[in-house]
């Protein structure tokens, strides 16, 4: 039955492509989380009337975040080709997609982190200060702990966007389900391959959303 519906699908290749997509999504989500979190926290703390209030730092980070967030991803990949070649040694394959994925998504996530941190009641930060908390304690035990549900829902949305980005990166040879759908499916006019790749991508997205929802529910005590 499945053989009839998808006559051209090479299941081994499809599985390999799925693994590549999962690999790219997982690694880029991890680095996006770390870098985006750092940028977001820095952006928050350097803001007006905050702990490390510093207009210059705030404006510079804000500008970087805004610029990178605004460049269309497909163009960003092309712009980053020299950088990728220098860093990874090649511009083909899943690893070569990582720099563009992370640089494209981290500023996006940084914005979400900033919004999440701004939602925290200022009184709670003041209370921590009044107890003699160090800035490091305030960052980890107040800011990040109190905004955890928002940080998690932000990374869920970002991870799902990253699945989409990997498919786009696939169109220029990063591998994964995007490559398969574009080169094997679209260019050779084998629609069943494109459809199967789409189904797999949808399943990945649903799984990410599910994991995100479970985690958010666990952390949200409000």
């Amino acid at each position: 039955m499945i053989e009839n519906l998808f006559p051209h699908v090479d299941w081994e290749k499809m599985w390999e492509a799925t693994q590549q997509t999962l690999y790219m999504t997982a690694v880029s989500t991890f680095f996006t989380f770390v870098i985006g979190l750092a940028l977001g926290v820095l952006l928050f703390l350097s803001g007006p009337r905050q702990l490390w209030s510093n207009k210059i730092v705030n404006v510079i980070i804000g500008a970087i975040v805004n610029v990178y967030r605004s460049i269309p991803f497909i163009i960003l990949i092309i712009l980053l080709i020299p950088f990728t070649k220098f860093l990874i040694g090649t511009i083909r394959g899943p690893d070569a997609a990582l720099p563009a994925l992370i640089i494209g998504a981290a500023p996006f996530y940084a914005r979400m982190v900033l919004i999440a941190l701004q939602e925290i009641d200022k009184g709670v930060i003041e209370a921590a200060k009044s107890m003699g908390a160090k800035t490091r304690t305030i960052i980890f035990k107040v800011l990040l702990a109190e905004s955890m549900p928002a940080l998690l829902s932000g990374i869920t949305v970002t991870a799902i966007a990253l699945v989409g980005y990997t498919a786009m990166a696939g169109a220029i040879g990063a591998g994964g389900l995007g490559t398969l759908a574009y080169f094997e499916g679209f260019q050779r006019n084998r629609n069943d391959i494109t459809i199967m790749a789409t189904i797999l991508i949808l399943i990945i997205v649903f799984i990410i959303q599910f994991i995100g929802d479970v985690l958010i529910k666990r952390f949200d005590k409000r």
Binding site: V124, A127, K129, S130, M131, G132, K141, M148, K221, R222
Partner: protein, 341 residues
Amino acid sequence: MIHLSDVNKRFGIGTTSISAVEGVSLEIAKGEIFGIIGYSGAGKSTLIRLLNGLEMPTSGSVKIGGREISAIRGGELREARQKVSMIFQHFNLLWSRTVKENIGFPLEIAGVRKVERERKVAELIELVGLSGRENAYPSELSGGQKQRVGIARALANDPEVLLCDEATSALDPETTDSILNLLTDINERLGLTIVLITHEMHVIRKICHRVAVMEAGKVVEIGNVLDVFQAPREAITKRFVLQVTEPVETRQAIAHIKEEYPSGSLIKLIFVGERTEQPVLASLIRKYDIDVNIVQGNISHTHGGAYGTLLLQLVGDADVIAKAINYLHEEDVKTEVIGSD
């Protein structure tokens, strides 16, 4: 214990700057409950934040227990803050932590080890009457319970001073009373110095020993609570005292009785301390040939003793009324003529 000398605080720079606190000098003794009352914008929030270095004075000095808060920074200031803790109007608990974890937070900050931390937290939960709620999250607590967590958290590092920033303003009257009782209890049991700011005279009356009245950044009046109640000097202080001694119904009653009995004189008697227990009124009626109408009576218990007011309508000959009032003065009762015709 707390020593403020000529403290000024301005926000902003140049011509747009706003003066929040102006030339405040205060002396607060160890073990005292000191109240600061004022309307919003009077500068009391800024003043209380100068005491733990959340705000630094533009000029002047703030000393607590010999340590000059206004001169220290960084680690030294953070250490000092562990001994000058604070509770807040909106409690400011971490919602991501349970009651136990919230109370343990200042101990984590102070670097107390886990075993010791748990012992101390259990003790504090007992002290503030939250047994059985240890593992609840703030979202599962009532306002009064949240403030109890706030108080336990503030006491965790055995502070010398407790600052209360409108600590009961978000609570209903009944809960306010129970929190005020808890604060009095803590003050007596632990010998803690308490500084509180509020806009409710009721709070001052109930637990404070001394009070400072703030208006436009300045302390305009300061004294023992009983003295201030008895003889408020400034207009603003009088208004605050009226909050407690003369509720709206009284004013309506006065208006009503003036209409009803246009003939007499309305006078207010003010009894302080022991005078509240003497039968002054009975002998007044026996001695003088006047009719006495009781309009309203009220006794407020403050830390320094009771303070009572009695509104009377005296009907009779003018000279007899004058003699009667004279008699009251001899008996050490203050009077105030509210209105006559």
